[in-house]
Symmetry: D3
């Protein structure tokens, strides 16, 4: 299942079945006082492992760095430039395609606008030259679909209850107790040189309402939704 | 120690001590019939973890993809272009530098010539603009220093006894039993479109002479050598 | 007011007052059967002219090409690559900055995701090196704020009632009578090589409900909103 | 005729006739005290409109920015880098080619050497991959063919009598009265960091000898020459 | 005088006098039946050697490749892309500048439009960041100033009497006897995929009128003109 | 034999025999007190000329600039960036390939790691798209094979006895008498901003043991080895 744990002949044998490849993309990014910098790696990695098991897909190694805007200057964020991230994803897709693979699911923990555009631009570039089925998403958006039903409020976002709950369900040891509620102060349409001003507390929402059970439901919702998406995309 | 397991305030606190950052670079690359595709990730990751513990350094998340030549067209190798890898390493170094860090140890599991040049070019580019201490190496070369003393022969190389022993000591579950001796058939100075011809068996050396004890000695030699190197570089 | 109608000394004199520069960005893009290819140029140009008059701002010449995804392969769409658009906007901003200007409002008629990211990335790049006030938006989003109050339904979008009404108010001669209702068929998270499949009729919404009065209200709402935004950004 | 005023189906219908596309390129550039910054937009736009009417060609929207050297640091000049301009023109040509068009006439108001090279390099790049008829010119050069016969002297150039006359014939309201004669002081083969030294008055020639009738003859000469050129290129 | 024949300490000593560096640029380009492919290297190299001797300048090694358009597809032409040539010249200038040199004379044997633009763009880029005196020219243009006085007709050009005479004076052994008169058939403003059509005989002019004495006068005119140019540029 | 001394028809005739093209790459680089900056040009040029004669190959003009690390900041070194060198070699290879040539031997006098990687990356890029036989080497490595048999010690390297002897055999007039022994102080795995610290005397080895006879044997060994290599590569 994990590509990096297979031998070369095992990989060659698996490619013949035309499996999906799940490519988890993480990040090292400030997520407030209570969540680890790898929050956006922990979530898609867990999802990708479950999904690969359930669907018999290949699991590519997690790419643990992303492109960041509003948190870029906060302590701990490591940033790839837009062009670097796009090139990286394109190289991985092309290389897997040359290996004979044709179905790709990119699951990004980080949901930033420019970050997601980089992933989509790489995917479009692949499709201009080659035939493939490509899905690109952030599992954050999928999880957020059921957030209201779990009592997570409208202003919840980066580092908030949703993300806190999800990490609690996967790596409770990495969730700190120093939780404060925070707000995303919209910049409107301004572009700021100091965009961290949008996150005075470094997060959006009230992480203290999160618990592991909530996180499990969110995580399972993502896994089940993605599994369905893959099934429905087979003839796409 | 692991950057991705720290919170943003914990990271900020650690930066004040001017610690080293250890950046492990792995690969997904064909390593014969018996070794996993992630062989070059497993080794530097283990080294980097031990080293970070012993020296109190920060540990950056493993970058699991590299640039490959002779194995590029073998089943399972995933390849980043030279420019992508160089940009990626430069972005990570610059971003860590902007976070206030000044000491970087890059440990690459993969030892390919172009791959290593990409890492060094990125490092040189950093140093043209910024002040820092940078070490770039492949732990393969460091381990190979004591290979003769362990009875590993001259022709040993990619996927051979040295690498097999090291993986046996770390992840014995991933080492297969289908071991054949192989040879690196030198291309001389030819550049081939099908460089896999240099590895008819996909590896160089006789993996069957490897055992876990040998691997432990190789791994510890790397850790101790790198620790010494870091100490000696402090005033450089 | 229009930069291209000023002489060099007139421009120099105006720069001393530190005025805003309004930069309208248009497009040549398929907008169904009834709207002209320049629909996304007509709207921001009209807005920019009104806004420049009301605020005493400088008006840069309209850039009439953009970056397109879902309509790229429809008849009449002219497409700039992401990197070209980003470079173009960065060059214009840098050049205006070297001329002494410090306040920039970019109004894009086209609202595509990658297109908007290109504009924002260029703006961020400017701000990394230079001090300036930058606003980047698509007037489509601003107009859409009041669409429900005008009876424009939820599925309205590209080439629909909102855009039809706005063009009717500005250039009624360019609005055709062959109006059909259309739908945006969400691709979910799939990236398609033939994204025009999302617009079977080339548009989203029911243009036949549009009229010029509706368009005037939408257009004036945009002008007034942007004027307020500029006033509120003065000390930002 | 104007692409931006056609609907998508109208455009598709026109493409079937294999028409020429006329692409006017303008500029925002200092032209002395008496001419507007858009002088190099006004001229090719007028020419392109007449030409499209007379020949039944498609008219692409004016690109209003160019690449400048000697006037770059004068008030009002907005400059695109060489690479940006080349990419822009290539993207537009490729996109029109993908739309089925095969005949392109690029008419640039600005006549700078590097600017013209950028346009030609883009055209050559198109022709390396695709089959097309491409004409690239600055209407300044074409107009200058008859300048002596109109009494315009040898030293006339940027912002001089020829350009003044042409703008007088098209937009007399934009021509100021503060006309001084100027000189282009040749830099020889020196490359200067302050090339505006070549234009102490910002222009070359004596604009005061210009009048609208002269401009009309220049403009019509350009239109007629270009029409002939298009006819003669049909079987090229 | 020749940089490549100096030792490092000799170079360091010479730099202190702030000498000019003369950088000859050659080409490998088809020049008809009778002239060698290195015609555009032979001429500037001879000029640069004489000039360095007379002025006590440093002589950089000849760069023997250039960028070509109309002869690109003729047998023997070796072509650098525009971007490569520009980068090459910029690197050489920057490197010499970092070595402490501040006066640069670039003498190109090839006179192509895009080729010359590449040289000038590199020079402008240098001057945007650094202080220096830069002259860029093709010695062809300088030699052509006196061509009429030597009886060389108006249509003379690439591979014609002027170039033939100059090579006869320097390397008579390389001038063949198979001389035919040729013509440059102007493409007007067309850009052709097969621009060699402009040179049906591969050259322009009548080489048979050339002789070595004519070449000596042309060559000495170039040397003397450039020497004067350097003297006059000292305080620029 | 020398491409730049052939006419276009002579070149065309020779291409039909499918000859090898030998491409010598030189450098302008500090080589201690006694050797000329062009040391790395003199050696491969001499080798290439002999080799072309003996094998009936085409000889391309020497490219006299390279990419340097440890000597970059020493007086006299002229440096091309990695990307420039790679582009340059790729352009030359592609252009020769378009001319119908299929066998390329690149002989570089400079042996730096990044420099050699640039040459190899360009060659690999050629081979991804086109069919050809490519050999890339530094003649330094080939000469060094017999260095021990000539009494040249282990620490000999840049500017040492081997290079001194070789230049003595070719251009004795350029070898100075101020010879000091020097040492390459290994940086280990450190990347330094001031890598010239590795060469306190600017060279490695003891040049005073060199003589012309030794140089002749080294040079002939290179020529004979390369001739054999070419013969053995014919069916590769």
């Amino acid at each position: 299942m994990r590509i990096d744990e297979m031998s070369s002949p095992e990989f060659a044998a698996r490619v013949k079945d035309n499996p999906w490849v799940i490519i988890p993309l993480g990040a090292v990014e400030a997520h407030g006082r209570h969540l680890p910098l790898g929050t956006d790696s922990i979530q898609p990695q867990w999802v990708a492992e479950r999904l690969a098991e359930r669907t018999g897909s290949l699991l590519a190694p997690l790419l643990p760095y992303g492109n960041h805007s509003s948190t870029r200057r906060m302590p701990g964020t490591i940033n790839l430039r837009f062009d670097t991230l796009r090139a990286l994803v394109l190289d991985i897709l092309e290389s897997l395609h040359e290996q004979g693979l044709r179905r790709f699911l990119i699951v990004s923990g980080h949901a930033g606008g420019a970050h997601m555009t980089a992933l989509k631009e790489a995917s479009k570039e692949l499709l201009e030259e080659r035939d493939a089925t490509v899905i690109v998403l952030t599992d954050y958006s999928v999880a957020a679909e059921i957030a209201p039903s779990l009592g997570i409020g409208h202003g919840d976002g980066h580092g908030g209850a949703l993300e806190t709950a999800r990490v609690m369900a996967i790596r409770p040891d990495l969730v700190g107790e120093d939780m404060v509620a925070g707000e995303f102060v919209s910049p409107g349409y301004r572009i700021y040189a100091d965009p961290e001003r949008c996150f005075p507390e470094g997060i959006a929402g009230d992480p203290s309402v999160a618990d592991a059970a909530m996180g499990e439901r969110l995580n399972m919702h993502v896994v089940e939704s993605l599994e369905r998406m893959m099934e429905e995309s087979v003839d796409g």
